[in-house]
């Protein structure tokens, strides 16, 4: 068990005042079997005129915020203390991937229905011949499922360059495929698209990863960003997480916020600005720091709303 303190700060400057803003934040990690939220704060400056928390269709904790007075900047900070169990490797399942597809298609439980939804194309993950072709090299007939999932992750990790300059969230998957570069969202989308192309159910996971510091150097504050990976549904095991960006199955030192069909369902921050800004300057800083054993581990679970200073 590791306890992390996660600080996720997003700052917007609009150049000129805007009339109002409506935001939907997905910055509150879920409680899972493998992770327990000990404390969580979300602060917003200026003070929002309205806020409401709710769980979306997948059970993710979302926060609606509205700022209805003129303002020229916005700062939103989520701070979370969370205990995370380091996962063990999934058992080497004898089932081959075709069997997993067949079991998924036949699922009728509510979980199963949700999984079936995640076999379908979605806004950021559209099927294409190029995608199917890339996937085909992994999904040989009768290949055991876990082996296939590991192979797909390794191939993406090997074939694609991590390049923050190349892509943004609007970069279509086909450009990523063509140029063989992208960032974690792209690789998650790519992995999901490949899995779906053979009929597997795959979901997009939003969260954080602790970047391990090089030996003997202090951890760089603010160097991290929010992270994304994915998970594939194997009915007999549940959801199997895999991080193609770091080629990890299971992902280690990851903190999950929530999941959806793709980035569009679980973007850390979505918003509509009324009286659109002259410009938008965005700064994002994420710190995921492992905590020494201490008082925070005993902090009771609370969802605190704190207004900005």
């Amino acid at each position: 068990v590791t306890t992390y303190q996660v600080t996720h700060r997003t700052k917007y400057r609009y150049g000129a005042p805007i009339a109002s803003a409506y935001l939907l934040a997905a910055l509150t990690p879920r409680d899972l079997r493998s992770q327990r939220v000990r404390d969580h704060h979300l602060r917003c400056t200026p003070e929002p005129s309205d806020h409401a928390e709710f769980d979306d269709a997948a059970g993710n904790h979302l926060t609606f915020l509205s700022l209805t007075g003129p303002h020229d900047s916005l700062e939103l900070t989520g701070i979370t203390w969370i205990e995370v169990d380091q996962p063990g490797a999934p058992p080497d399942l004898a089932s081959h991937w075709e069997e997993v597809v067949a079991e998924t298609v036949a699922a009728r439980s509510l979980d199963g229905l949700d999984a079936r939804e995640l076999r379908l194309s979605s806004r950021y993950v559209r099927p294409s011949p190029a995608l199917s072709e890339y996937a085909a090299a992994t999904f040989d007939p009768q290949r055991p499922i876990i082996d296939a999932l590991r192979d797909l992750s390794s191939r993406i990790h090997r074939d694609f360059a991590f390049d923050p300059e190349f892509s943004d969230v609007a970069t279509p998957l086909q450009d990523v495929l063509e140029h063989r570069r992208g960032v974690c969202q792209d690789f998650a989308h790519l992995y999901i698209g490949c899995a779906r192309s053979v009929g597997l159910a795959a979901r997009y996971v939003s969260g954080y990863v602790e970047t391990e510091p090089p030996l003997g150097q202090p951890k760089l504050q603010g160097a991290d960003a929010s992270h994304a990976w994915c998970a594939v549904y194997v009915p007999s095991l549940g959801w199997v997480d895999v991080d193609p960006t770091n080629d990890q199955l299971p992902p280690r030192r990851h903190v999950t916020i929530g999941w959806g069909r793709d980035y569009g369902d679980i973007a850390p921050l979505r918003g509509v600005l009324v009286g659109p800004p002259a410009s938008q300057q965005i700064e994002v800083a994420v710190d995921v720091v492992a905590q020494p054993e201490g008082p925070h581990a005993q902090t009771p679970v609370s969802q605190v709303w704190a207004n900005g200073a």
Binding site: A57, F64, E117, P276
Partner: protein, 803 residues
């Protein structure tokens, strides 16, 4: 011109096809036996023309649409109603009531427990893979009912049985059309209504209002309902504007509404008014850019979904209801009815298929040329291809698309429809019709509108639907819905205020341009010796200045020298300002009396007529049509003065009027009289006086030669002349003192303008100096006025993203 009166008698049904009026043995069915004697004695062509005039007088000739096909040419209203007897009605009513309950249960299940999917009644992929299934709405607990109102397209097949061919859950399209057709038909065919006594609809509209009120959050005493439309340019605008006016609700657009503290409010004159229920006329995906928007589809009210989730507003229908419009879903309707209602489905939909199912897909692909294919697009809209009329190439291409993503396609058989008598091209012939019926679903049960709209399938006609039940005799004259219970006198949506203000301005501009053009033309006719008298260029500069002040001159801005050019320019300017009158009036429709609205319809016709006139050779054609237009504009001004309640709405209208009358008069005087040669003065003065509608007043007062000082005295300084600049300033100052004080400096500006005038009288200021000194503060006032009252509409944009 009159039709052969016996042609209703000569009506012959098509052999072998079920006909609404004729039994196979040639006898007349009930209730047609009651209707036909009346049809025999009225001139149907005349009645159709009467109906067309009534439609035009409602301003609907250009605006009423049944389909999105060709927006400019709505099918004519057929004066012959579509009649249903009591037994058929009973069957139809029961079937549609069941369907209303079923649709509601389906939508609530799919966004709630999803039993239909868990039990395999409906394939999960059909629902969850469809862009009309809005995932965000799964976390909104729908009120009961989720589907309050829907319209259903029904045909009677060849055997006379009812078959559903389409339904509209997301938006109950056609409802406004139904109430409109009823209003027109009962006026165009009073004898028929008396003889047949169709069931009255008033009770149903009352129930609709109750049902909408019942959707309000439980803590609201007298709920406020608004009708949310896309905008004046939207195809459905007229229909919903008519519906809103009939029901007594405010008609609003997305940016008129704002979410504050978990509630929805209407930006109204000077305040935010609570809104409790929204009757949507925009699709779910366009209702909230924050949560529901598909890429590239903005608009709506950011936060609306959250407000619904928090229980702060009721919606008819629930967000996400569009999934119920899925054509493929209906192929599972019998099972859904069994599962959700425990009932056998009474009126089935025409055979339908979902192509995501491999078996159904191959069945459909084998007979594409005989089916209608429904492809759903990413934004939830649907593209329909009629297989029967598509080319082989098109079908082949379609097949390729289907094979790529079959789950995006559904198909439906086209059912042959029975016929009914209709007036087409001056004779009564059998026409296949589709009825659009409206069904209401409330906590106390469902109710079908006794009537609806019938449309010709392959012939251009729409009809009112009459239900004839001797046991439930309606009143002879079908009544319009009862008066609204909510008092909207004090309610003025900010957008309506702006529209009324612009209605006043555009009407005044139009009037000034028309009157000036006309005055010049008539004066030229007097000068018989020459077609180019020496005073003309100065007069034309005056007209040019009026058009320029009215903002209707093309950018190059040079003053025209030739008479016909200016008339053409004048007509072009008139066209622009006339469009302004019609557009603003349309947007402020709820504030106009019926008479005022009919005048607006005449103004629209005048605009169309004028487009032709501009090319005419003879000046009298122009002057004559301008004269007619001026009469209509006087009627509009009169209706504004005499039949609009003196609330803030009227005041905005009048302020718009006064501002432009003052500005345009100042412009005209500056361009024509400042530094005028005495030689030109008489004809010019006549033109100016006539343009300011003050020629008679001048002659009565001065009984002398025209002198420019006396003229200026009358049209600028005389505060007893309703055409003078001084008079306009007095009215503006009065209005200003009545409006809530937002900005004291604005009152100062009006005072400055008035002082400039007063000084002009005292010190005999040169005319050009006087105009500048008065106009400056007035223009500043207009700018402040707009910024104070109309700065509410900001364009939304998306928050930038970066991980």
């Amino acid at each position: 011109m009159s039709i052969d009166h016996r042609s209703a008698d000569d009506y012959r049904a098509m052999a072998g096809q079920w006909d609404a009026s004729r039994a196979p043995d040639g006898t007349t069915r009930s209730p047609w036996d009651q209707l036909e004697p009346v049809l025999r004695h009225v001139d149907l062509v005349e009645r159709q023309q009467l109906a067309a005039r009534l439609v035009a007088s409602e301003g609907a000739a250009q605006l009423l649409h049944v389909d999105r096909g060709d927006p400019r040419t709505p099918p004519p209203l057929d004066p012959i109603p579509y009649c249903l007897d009591a037994t058929s009605w009973q069957k139809l009513r029961e079937g549609l009531e069941q369907r209303a309950r079923l649709s509601d249960a389906i939508v609530r299940d799919l966004y709630g427990p999803r039993r239909l999917l868990q039990d395999g009644v409906v394939p999960a992929e059909l629902v969850m893979g469809d862009p009309r299934y809005l995932r965000a709405c799964r976390s909104i607990v729908a009120r009961v009912p989720a589907v309050t109102l829907q319209t259903v397209d029904v045909v009677r097949d060849e055997s006379g049985s009812f078959v559903v061919v389409g339904q509209h859950l997301d938006l109950a399209a056609g409802l406004g059309h139904a109430v409109f057709n009823r209003a027109i038909t009962s006026r165009a065919m009073p004898e028929a209504a008396k003889a047949v006594a169709p069931l009255d609809q008033g009770d149903w509209w009352g129930r609709l209002r109750d049902a909408l009120s019942a959707l309000a959050p439980s803590d609201r005493d007298s709920p406020r309902v608004v009708v949310l439309v896309a905008g004046v340019d939207a195809v459905e605008y007229f229909e919903y504007a008519y519906l809103a006016t009939t029901l007594g609700y405010n008609l609003v657009q997305g940016d008129d509404l704002v979410v504050r503290n978990g509630r929805l409010s209407l930006r109204s004159f000077g305040q935010l008014e609570p809104v409790d229920v929204v009757l949507r006329a925009i699709p779910s995906v366009a209702c909230d850019a924050l949560e529901l928007s598909v890429e590239g589809l903005g608009g709506g009210v950011p936060g609306l979904a959250m407000t619904a989730r928090a229980g702060g507003v009721g919606l008819a229908n629930a967000l996400g209801s569009a999934i119920g419009d899925h054509a493929g879903l209906t192929s599972y309707e019998a099972g859904m009815c069994e599962q959700l209602l425990g009932e056998r489905l009474l009126i089935p939909t025409a055979p339908s298929y979902w192509l995501g199912d491999a078996e159904q897909c191959s069945h459909v692909l084998a007979r594409l040329d005989r089916l209608d294919l429904y492809g759903v697009n990413d934004d939830g809209s649907v593209t329909i291809t009629r297989g029967g009329s598509a080319s082989d190439d098109a079908l082949h291409e379609l097949e390729q698309q289907v094979r790529q993503s079959p789950h995006r396609y559904s198909a439906r058989a086209s059912v042959a429809s029975s016929t009914t008598p209709a007036l087409i091209d001056r004779s009564v012939v059998p026409v296949e019709v589709v009825m659009r019926c409206a069904v209401l679903n409330t906590a106390d049960g469902a109710a079908v509108l006794p009537g609806g709209v019938a449309r010709g399938r392959n012939a251009p006609a729409t009809k009112d639907v009459w239900i004839v039940d001797p046991e439930l005799v309606g009143t002879a004259r079908p009544r319009p819905p009862a008066l609204p219970q909510v008092d909207l006198r004090g309610s003025l949506p900010a957008r309506s205020a702006e529209s009324l203000f612009w209605l006043g301005r555009h009407a005044e501009r139009t009037e000034m341009i028309a009157r000036t053009t006309n005055s010049i033309a008539m004066r030229v006719e007097l000068d018989a010796r020459t077609s180019a008298p020496e005073w003309l260029p100065r007069a034309l500069r005056g007209l040019h200045e009026v058009c320029r002040s009215a903002g209707t001159v093309r950018a190059d801005g040079s003053a025209p020298v030739d008479l016909w050019t200016v008339f053409r320019d004048g007509a072009a300017s008139l066209g622009i300002s006339l469009s302004g009158v019609v557009t603003s009036a349309r947007a402020a429709r709820a504030f106009l009396s019926q008479t005022a609205w009919r005048v607006v319809a005449r103004v629209e016709n005048a605009r169309i007529a004028l487009e032709g006139v501009a090319e005419q050779e003879h000046m009298f054609v122009l002057t004559e049509s301008l004269d007619d237009l001026l009469l209509d504009l006087s009627a509009l001004a009169g209706a504004g003065m005499e039949s609009v309640v003196r609330g803030p709405g009227w005041m905005f209208w009048d302020i718009g009027r006064r501002i432009d009358r003052a500005l345009l008069t100042l412009g005209l005087i500056e361009a024509t009289l400042a530094a005028a040669d005495e030689a030109d003065v008489v004809p010019i003065a006549e033109v100016v006086l006539a343009s300011c509608e003050s020629l008679i007043a001048y002659r009565r007062r001065y009984r002398s030669d025209l002198r420019s000082e006396a003229l200026v005295d009358l049209v600028v300084f005389d505060s007893s002349n309703p055409r003078s600049v001084a008079f306009q300033l007095d009215r503006l100052r009065e209005h200003h003192s009545t409006l809530p004080q937002r900005d004291r400096d604005m009152g100062e500006l009006l005072l400055q303008a008035a002082e400039a005038l007063a000084e002009g009288v005292e010190r005999n200021t040169p005319l050009d100096t006087l105009v500048v000194a008065t106009r400056g503060p007035l223009l500043d006032y207009v700018e402040c006025f707009g910024a104070t009252w109309f700065s509410h509409v900001d364009v939304p944009g998306a928050l930038g993203v970066r991980s």
